[in-house]
């Protein structure tokens, strides 16, 4: 928040190179659900940010 990174949650699973993933991010109030190919990866509650745009990232 406000320029400082922090981890909400993580695991140690690597992706498969050149595979296509259908990602779905659901944000409902303070609940964040992230699914890949219809399998829930993360289901967490965090109320730090309540609204905002979408984006894609490489790094």
């Amino acid at each position: 928040m406000n320029g400082v990174f922090s981890t909400v949650t993580q695991d140690n699973v690597a992706y498969t190179q050149n595979s296509t993933y259908i990602a779905k991010i659901s944000v409902i109030e303070d609940r964040i659900i992230i699914s890949l190919n219809d399998i829930v990866v993360f289901d967490v509650e965090d109320a730090s940010l309540t609204n905002g745009r979408i984006g894609v990232y490489c790094g």
């Binding site: 981890t7 190179q17 965090d46 490489c58």
Partner: protein, 154 residues
């Protein structure tokens, strides 16, 4: 409503709709009960098929190594082909700055964001959401080389 009590139709406006159902039995002194039903209709806020320009998207490079980014549209896909990064390979350093493209409205609140992702490289990539500005956002990323999936907030 049909004779069997099925209420059907296609909603055309977003919003919250309340239906109040009255239930009366057939006894000589009828017993009456009420039940509220709510229907939530969501709008399609944004749809992108990547034909033509990147007009709705804003590109930001915050990685300092091997830039700049190379975003372009190829065969209906948004492709980033540069190896831009921040030069810090330690998996535990969570900033992992590189490049990103964002679109939409800062007022978007509750939503589902669905897209297809693919990487021909082994570095980190992913999505951002509830993005306000470069200092305030969530980012979900996956990294093959460093073997993690991670949700961070900034």
């Amino acid at each position: 409503m049909s004779s069997s009590g099925i209420l059907s139709g296609t909603p055309v406006l977003e919003g919250q709709y309340r239906f109040k159902v009255k239930i009366t039995d057939s006894s000589p002194i009828p017993q009456i009960n009420y039940q509220d039903l709510w229907l939530y209709v969501n709008a399609n806020l944004f749809e992108e098929h990547f034909s033509g320009s990147l007009g709705q998207w804003t590109i930001v490079d915050d990685g300092t190594e091997t830039g700049p980014s190379k975003w372009n549209i190829t065969s209906g896909q948004l492709v980033q082909s540069s190896n831009i990064w921040d030069g810090i390979s330690d998996a535990n350093q969570i900033a992992k700055l590189g490049t990103y493209a964002y679109a939409g409205d800062t007022l978007w609140h509750n939503y589902e964001y669905i897209l297809k992702l693919r990487s021909s490289d082994d570095d980190g990539f992913g999505v951002m959401f509830r993005f306000i500005d470069n200092d305030n956002y969530y980012r979900f990323s996956m990294d093959k080389q460093r073997a993690y999936r991670r949700l961070v907030k900034k």
